[in-house]
């Protein structure tokens, strides 16, 4: 894998953006999924405010991924989003619904108002994660694209068992990731209650993880092809195993920081494995391999890729600095004040 090749560079950079998004929005989506399991208005507000200042910035990783995909691989941007038209519209609808729920939930004191938005927050978080998983599963299995990269057939071709299995894995992973984050950010009785969720979630994750791994090996044989080309990638598989194993260890030893760091690692590893299954493809056509979109035939011109690389080099240090500043300012246990949701 030659990173000096602009096409490879952009493929990897998009992978970095997806990884950033999965880790960061992953925990706040997970918090959303777990939100209804927490009882009491003060407790729910604490849970909501644990992601209060952060969720919006986390979502920017997705938006920037969209822009970067458009710039670097416009054909893939056009083909994938028009192919996944309806599911994608539901995804956007859910993202809007989620933003509304977070923003408006605590603005009115009525119980029924708050209960309504609590449900809406949890449901939209769940739908977002599920749809991302279903999309990833479809990408791995391949979708019916014609020679120009347009979808042949309709949305029913995308509703298959394997993508839903990946969707389920995404949901339990986000829930586990969210629980470990919440355990880090809460204290007292609320923390204890969240603590009790961790073990069931971990075992649910383990089952889904093993199930999807087996299904992938059987149904998506090309998923492991890249390991022959890049044997070094086995290191990530080992690290992935260690991260998964370290979650119960850290829970057992009462180290919430380490547990959350491990779940960040395992989310990153899952994205990496997805990338390994796809590279260098951006979309796989189930009709004819000649219709596949990859980092070369879907790309912008060399000069644009080169120019955009400078923009990325210029911009990414700032992005990382802002992210670090914000996470530093809002470190520590979540407290409620006048400005909280």
């Amino acid at each position: 894998m030659d990173l000096t090749d602009l096409h490879v560079f952009w493929y990897v950079l998009l992978g970095v953006l997806v990884t950033g998004y999965a880790i960061l929005d992953g925990f706040d989506l997970g918090v959303g999924i777990l939100h209804p399991l927490v009882k009491g208005d003060r407790e729910r507000r604490l849970v909501l405010n644990s992601i209060g200042p952060l969720w919006d910035g986390n979502e920017v990783w997705l938006v920037t991924f969209g822009g970067a995909l458009f710039a670097a691989f416009p054909k893939a941007y056009a083909s994938l989003f028009s192919a996944f038209y309806l599911p994608f519209m539901f995804l956007l609808f859910a993202l809007i619904g989620r933003a509304i729920s977070i923003e408006f939930r605590s603005k009115v004191k009525s119980t029924s108002w708050r209960t309504y938005w609590d449900h809406s927050f949890a449901f939209s978080s769940l739908v977002v994660v599920l749809l991302f998983g279903v999309a990833a599963g479809n990408l791995m299995q391949g979708i019916p694209l014609d020679a120009r990269g347009n979808l042949v057939g309709d949305v029913r071709d995308l509703l298959r068992p394997y993508p839903f299995a990946v969707g389920a894995l995404a949901v339990v992973t986000a829930a586990l990731h969210g629980a470990l984050y919440l355990h880090l950010k809460t204290e007292g009785e609320l923390q204890e209650r969240i603590g009790r969720l961790r073990w069931p979630l971990f075992f649910a994750f383990l089952v889904a993880y093993l199930g999807v791994t087996i299904a992938t090996l059987v149904l998506v044989p090309h998923a492991t092809r890249n390991f022959d080309r890049f044997p070094i990638a086995w290191v990530v598989v080992v690290l992935n195993g260690l991260a998964v194993a370290n979650v119960p260890r850290a829970i057992h030893h009462g180290k919430p920081g380490q547990a959350f760091a491990s779940s960040c690692g395992l989310v990153a590893a899952l994205v990496f494995l997805f990338g390994m299954a796809m590279f260098p493809k951006l979309a796989i056509s189930s009709l004819d391999p000649a219709h596949d979109l990859d980092a070369w035939n879907a790309a912008s011109s060399e000069s644009t890729l080169g120019l955009m690389r400078w923009i990325a080099f210029l911009g990414m240090p700032f992005v990382i600095t802002y992210t670090a500043i914000v996470y530093w300012v809002f470190r520590g246990k979540t407290k409620l004040d006048d400005f909280s949701y």
Binding site: G52, P53, L54, D56, G57, E59, V60, L62, V63, T64, G66, G67, A68, F70, A71, A72, P74, K75, Y77, A78, F81, S82, Y85, L86, F88, M89, F90, L92, F93, L95, I96, G97, A99, I100, E103, F104, V108, R148, N150, V152, D154, S300, S301, S303, T304, L307, I311, A312, G315, M316, F318, V319, Y322, T323, V326, V329, F330, D337, F339, S340
Partner: protein, 486 residues
């Protein structure tokens, strides 16, 4: 039923982008005023400014969140509904969108967290810095998106590769793409339009408080800042609009002809009111300044302006919509200048705060910039038709081949419902915030010290309002200047 995906996709884009554009101009304009007010707080340590910024922060946060929620759709809609367009312009348009994400969105959303939630976590200077960064981020966002859109109007710095449906534009000269002929004119116009939006928004709420005799200390200060800012921006946008119209005359003559209802080539009048009639190819009920358009563009009342007749029929924009929206925008622009100058005059005479009729007009005027910003964009975008990229790609050829009319209709219904709910909530929460009002500055900490010009103006108004408690203006303002200079 046969559903036309082109018409539906256009309707969906109009719905989503017009709804979205209710919010970003306020983010930019209100952000600018918050920077000014918080700057004043840092300089004078006057808690009344802090109360104002804290109050507007809460409204800013809600506005921003709704803007982000509706904006996510925009980032992906090019791919979902306009796949052929996306393939065609990816090289150019995608780059600008990606740059917007990296340079603007991270800056905005990162520091927004500190601006909104960080009052008790960071010091005043760091907080001010965050406000400034959020404002800059929202400006950067405008920069990149206006550059991308302007390239659709005046494409430069590219060459075409491929044939027919496979054709695409590739960048050959990045800076020529960025500084395409209309980009800077349009950017100025968009930013001043946003500043006016922010100014009228602040004036509306502040005037409401003054009328209700609530939060007077905070409201009068906010109003005065916004009035000066709004007056300057209203005059600036007239100048920017004039230079922009001249550029349109050169770059997109068909669009100018549609704006002005100019059907036949020849000397052109400036039509103030009227209704274009495509049948008779004239403007009905026209009230016009003869030869004025020729004067504005060429400095000569006899100079010919190119009319719609010069363009093939399938390359002419529709006339009614651009004409009406363009004229609405221009009339509102004139109103903004008039009302802000009148406000300044009354402020200077010390009579503003007891002119209840004028304050009532200011309360209602907030609708004006919303209409003007929308109308201006409708005029620009409909005036570009039938092209999506001027002279290169037609809107009807730009849609996604695989997306069916029924699917687009489904998503329109979905977004329609979401936006309706969002809009209702926004109004509801805005009303709650306004009813609640700013915190009492006394409770925020140290007693207020003197300001400067603003204090003098507010004090002058107080005197007019309650003659019995007259304050000697000259001495307060000189004291204020002395203490303001510390």
């Amino acid at each position: 039923m046969d559903l036309d995906p082109v018409a539906l996709s256009r309707a969906q884009f109009a719905l989503t982008v017009m709804f979205h554009y209710l919010f970003p101009p306020l983010s930019i304009g209100l952000g600018a005023l918050m920077v000014l007010l918080e700057g004043a707080y840092l300089r004078t340590k006057d808690r009344r400014y802090e109360a104002a910024v804290r109050f507007f922060t809460k409204i800013f946060a809600v506005n921003f969140a709704v803007g982000v929620a509706s904006g996510i759709v925009m980032e992906f809609q090019f791919g979902t509904n306009w796949a052929t367009y996306s393939r065609f312009v990816g090289d150019v348009f995608g780059s600008a969108l990606a740059a917007e994400g990296i340079f603007a969105f991270f800056l905005e959303s990162g520091f927004l967290a500190i601006l909104v939630f960080g009052w008790n976590r960071v010091g005043p200077k760091m907080h001010f810095f965050s406000t400034l960064m959020v404002f800059l981020g929202s400006c950067f966002s405008a920069v990149w998106i206006v550059i991308a859109n302007s390239w659709q109007h005046t494409p430069t710095g590219f060459h075409l590769v491929g044939e027919g449906a496979e054709m695409r534009a590739e960048i050959t000269d990045f800076w020529a793409m960025v500084f395409n002929p209309s980009a800077m004119h349009r950017l100025n116009h968009v930013l001043f339009g946003s500043f006016i939006q922010g100014a009228f928004f602040v004036m509306s709420i502040s005037a409401f408080y003054v009328l209700k005799k609530r939060h007077l200390e905070v409201a009068k200060r906010s109003f005065t800042f916004a009035l000066v800012f709004g007056a300057v921006s209203s005059i600036a946008i007239l100048i920017s609009g004039h230079s922009q119209a001249n550029a349109v005359a050169v770059n997109q003559p068909a669009k100018l002809a549609a704006f002005e209802g100019h059907y036949e080539t020849g000397p052109a009048d400036m039509i103030l009111f009227g209704w274009p009639n495509d049948e008779t190819r004239q403007v009905d009920y026209a009230v016009a300044v003869p030869g004025m358009l020729s004067v504005l563009v060429h400095g000569d009342p006899e100079a010919p302006i190119r009319g719609l007749d010069e363009f093939p029929e399938d390359e002419r924009p529709p006339v009614a919509v651009p004409f009406v929206t363009y004229h609405l925008m221009a009339m509102l622009g004139t109103f903004f200048i008039g009302i802000t100058l009148l406000g300044l005059l009354q402020l200077w005479r010390g009579k503003l705060w007891d002119q209840r009729w004028l304050l009532r007009i200011f309360v209602l005027s907030v609708v004006g910039p919303y209409l003007a910003n929308q109308a201006g964009w409708v005029a620009a975008e409909v005036g570009r038709q039938p092209w999506v990229v001027y002279g290169l790609l037609k809107t009807s050829d730009a849609v996604s081949p695989s997306v069916k009319g029924g699917e687009v209709l489904t998503s329109i219904v979905l977004f329609g419902l979401a936006y309706l709910a969002l809009f209702a909530l926004w109004i509801y929460v805005l009303n709650e915030k306004i009813q609640h009002g700013p915190e009492d500055p006394e409770k925020l900490g140290t007693p207020p010290s003197g300001g400067s010009f603003v204090d003098a103006a507010v004090a002058a108004g107080d005197r007019a309002l309650t003659e019995a408690d007259a304050i000697p203006v000259a001495s307060t303002s000189s004291v204020a200047r002395a203490s303001g200079g510390e």
